[in-house]
């Protein structure tokens, strides 16, 4: 309990001091938020008018009956057709479930939960001790406290940070209520569920590290395949039910909304909470949230009870982080690894091989060296001549999963539907993956300030390198998307949209890290980036949805790309001046 008090004391002082130091930034954030609100209201009003004009009227009776039913026993009201197969099984064609909206919500929430928990498992198995900072090593590790108590101190800090960082999701409430048509109560529950999911993900990460600290083989497996361990059972359940003759929607329903599915800890409970909220069953919804929180508490208690000796791992990890931070603040460490030693790590041999591959800077002079460095490091670090990076792999397999499920499991024939869902998923993934300053490595070195080139050229070539890097990563996934939607022109336009969005996200991360003081707590930096991104993101999202749903999507998509590029240039505009001013 004393350590809980210390953790809360530390979090409170860190938070308050962060606000005090960055009050100008906080004031700017409030101003940007107000601007976003105005833009959102204007855009929302325009969209509402557009949607109202296009919508067919829905009978009041049908609106009142918008409650969740079990699809396995549902008797459809529309046209149905029974078909007898060779095996004597029956399934229903031309069936439009009455509550398809609820089913979509269930799938999205469930998959999101599986994704975050899976990533938590992978993170915990890979570097669970990396939650500790060097000051924790110096002050807390020698202090007369149990290692579990020290772990609890950091866990509470991590939980607080994760929950605060998840707060930006509340900016999506107008979208959930206005555009998705959810009741306000459901939108509030979803925001709370998202924040709780951040908490659960962190706890799972720490539990994974502590539970398997003495099992290196299991840790290695989970660090690579933790996500698949979570996601594959859900997909297998769908496939199994389908093979048993349940039909598409029944199979999906069984995997994500059945009693068994919502009984799965955390994923099922959070999904149930959201669905109950949509259905108006607020007591049940809140109860499921409470169950999730209790479950998280139990997980925390169990973690705390496991004997652990993580000090050595934490020391190594914190030293590495401290080295990177010192290199970012002071003397150039040189090379691409900031002086970080990979000695003793499982992949040390891999790093040694990569280090020994010669990098030749021919053709890159002046500011172009920053572009060349990114390209040559890509070639050095990744297979297939640098074409297939870890990021590339992530987007590729995500797209394979999405297109595969939609085309071959859900039997979606409409390329536009596939394009919308796959694009939204890709853009969301890009959004969450892009909060780090893309030029962190370059700006941590002193020589960027010493090279006799214009600041705009230095930063411009650096960002161009990052953009090309991202563009290469998106190629395989875009090819898969193209196969799925069957429209080459649309595929090219979507690819350009992804690249322009990648550029814009990178620029916002650059401008926040370069222009604003680097002492901002990470969650405030992320919230500020989210706010800045929201300004052009809202109109782009609307134009994208409207454009792609219409027959002529070329002009709207080109407008979206143009907005992204213009916003990127605007975000870039103050950066050279701040580079010229020098380090803070």
């Amino acid at each position: 309990m004393k350590m809980l008090g210390l953790a809360l004391w530390y979090m409170w002082h860190t938070f308050i001091n962060g606000i005090k130091r960055a009050w100008k930034v906080v004031a700017a954030m409030i101003g940007i938020f107000a601007l976003c609100l105005v833009i959102g209201i204007v855009v929302g009003t325009v969209v509402d008018k557009y949607v109202d004009d296009g919508e067919t009227s829905v009978s009041e009776e049908e609106e009142e009956e918008n409650h969740y039913v079990d699809l396995a026993t549902y008797v459809p009201k529309g046209d149905i057709e029974f078909v007898e197969t060779e095996d004597g099984l029956y399934f229903i064609e031309n069936f439009v479930p009455h509550n398809v909206g609820n089913l979509i919500i269930s799938i999205v929430v469930y998959m999101l939960a599986l994704l975050f928990i899976g990533l938590g498992i992978m993170g915990g198995a890979k570097n669970g001790a990396s939650i500790f900072l060097m000051p924790d090593i110096n002050f807390l590790f020698p202090s007369p406290n149990r290692p579990q108590s020290v772990l609890m101190f950091r866990m509470i800090g991590q939980i607080g940070t994760a929950m605060l960082g998840g707060l930006y999701i509340m900016f999506q409430m107008p979208n959930l209520v206005g555009n998705a048509g959810l009741p306000i109560r459901a939108a509030v529950i979803m925001v709370i569920a998202y924040i709780v999911l951040q908490l659960v993900s962190k706890m799972v990460s720490v539990f994974t590290y502590v539970a398997f600290q003495n099992h290196p083989k299991i840790k290695k497996f989970l660090s690579k395949y933790g996500l698949f361990v979570m996601v594959l059972p859900a997909i297998a359940a769908v496939v199994l039910k389908y093979l048993l003759g349940w039909g598409y929607f029944d199979s999906v329903n069984a995997a994500f909304t059945s009693t068994a599915a919502i009984s799965v800890p955390f994923c099922g409970w959070l999904t149930a909470s959201c669905i109950y909220a949509v259905e108006g069953e607020m007591l049940l919804s809140i109860m499921m949230l409470v169950v999730t929180l209790v479950g998280t508490g139990v997980l925390m208690y169990v973690t705390w009870q496991i004997p652990c000796d993580f000090y050595e791992d934490a020391l190594a990890s914190a030293t590495e982080i401290a080295n990177i931070q010192e290199a970012a603040q002071n003397v150039a460490a040189g090379g691409t690894n900031f002086g970080v030693s990979h000695e003793g790590k499982a992949d040390a041999k891999k790093w040694e091989k990569r280090r020994n591959r010669a990098v030749v800077f021919d053709g890159y002079e002046g500011a172009k060296v920053f572009f060349g460095k990114t390209m040559l490091n890509r070639k050095r670090m990744h297979p297939l001549g640098g074409l297939y990076s870890t990021t590339c792999s992530f987007y590729l397999w995500m797209m394979v999963g999405l297109v595969g499920v939609m085309k071959y499991l859900a039997n979606v024939d409409d390329g536009i539907v596939i394009a919308i869902i796959a694009s939204v998923a890709t853009l969301m993934a890009m959004f969450f993956r892009s909060f780090m300053n893309p030029l962190q490595a370059e700006l941590s070195q002193n020589f960027i300030y010493m090279i006799p080139e214009k600041p705009s050229a230095l930063l411009g070539w650096g960002m161009l390198g990052q953009m090309v890097d991202g563009a290469i990563d998106l190629i395989p996934a875009s090819i898969v998307l193209g196969i799925g939607i069957g429209d080459p022109l649309l595929t090219v336009l979507l690819y350009l949209l992804f690249v322009s969005m990648h550029l814009f996200f990178g620029m916002t991360a650059l401008v926040v890290n370069l222009v604003v003081a680097n002492y901002l707590p990470i969650y405030i930096s992320n919230m500020l980036q989210s706010l800045i991104r929201a300004i052009p993101f809202l109109p782009v999202a609307v134009i994208f949805i409207i454009g792609i749903s219409s027959t002529n999507y070329v002009v709207p998509l080109l407008i979206c790309i143009a907005i992204n590029v213009a916003a990127s240039m605007l975000a870039f505009w103050p950066c050279p001046y701040h580079l010229h001013k020098g380090k803070r």
């Binding site: 210390l6 004391w9 090593i137 020698p142 007369p144 002492y519």
Partner: protein, 249 residues
């Protein structure tokens, strides 16, 4: 006070410490010397409890990783590392809370005054220069009044006034019966201060001498250090006189 028994620490196949054994009696200033890569930091971190090792380390009879031992021991790292968003005063408060100290305010203010940090109480950790960070790190290590204080290169980065205050503090701690175990490269900095020296090389203890022994031999610590580490002397100085006396007790 401190017993290190057959401690071996390996990183992969390389031994950073190889069967290290020594004893530190209660009280006095004990110095750990050695060239780069001798294993000084490794043994210090093993004593604090940061590392896994084979062998045994006891502090006043308690296992070094036990809570009883941690109540006695304090640590000042070589490279200070502070919380960016806590002020100087808050760092001291943080340590006081972590160690569950009572009635520490006067001593806290005295330490800040002695090391010229009193007027910087409201400065954040990342706003301090390296020297000030080192001073704050020292104040945090001294605040719990540990019976055994481990210091890794304590004088690096300190200005002359701070070095003078630190040496004065070391004398006071010695007078109070507290023990200090200091790892350093700079032999001159510990001249006139030390009571007992342990010299390490390539992960092993090569020398273990007291001040009195050196005076009898009519040698300086520096001379002995170079004799041992450069192999000029054939004499085996790895046995410790205080160690034997302590065992008999």
């Amino acid at each position: 006070m401190l017993e290190v028994n057959h401690v071996t620490k390996k990183y992969k196949k390389e031994k950073a410490c190889d069967d290290v054994t020594f004893f530190l009696p209660e009280g006095g200033i004990h110095v750990l010397l050695g060239p780069n890569g001798a294993g000084k930091s490794t043994i210090m971190k093993s004593i604090i409890g940061f590392l896994k090792y084979s062998g045994e380390i006891k502090i006043n009879g308690y296992n070094n990783k036990s809570l009883e031992a941690k109540k006695i021991i304090g640590y000042m790292p070589e490279i200070p590392s502070l919380y960016a968003n806590l002020t100087v005063d808050e760092h001291m408060e943080f340590v006081a809370k972590a160690y569950r100290l009572k009635d520490y305010t006067d001593y806290k203010n005295e330490l800040l005054e002695r090391f010229e940090l009193a007027d910087k109480k409201k400065k954040f950790g990342d706003e301090l220069s390296k020297g000030m960070q080192q001073k704050l790190s020292l104040c945090c290590a001294l605040l719990p009044k540990p019976a055994l204080l481990l210091m890794d290169e304590p004088m690096i980065g300190l200005d002359p006034h701070a070095i003078k205050e630190l040496k004065k503090m070391m004398h006071e701690m010695k007078e109070n019966g507290q023990s200090l175990f200091i790892s350093t490269h700079i032999i001159d900095s510990m001249d006139q201060l030390w009571d007992h020296a342990i010299i390490m090389q390539k992960g092993q203890v090569k020398g273990n001498v007291t001040h009195e022994q050196l005076q009898e031999m009519n040698k300086t610590l520096e001379e002995v250090f170079f004799e041992i580490t450069e192999g000029l002397s054939g004499e085996d100085m790895s046995e410790s006189a205080p160690e034997e006396e302590n065992k008999e007790k």
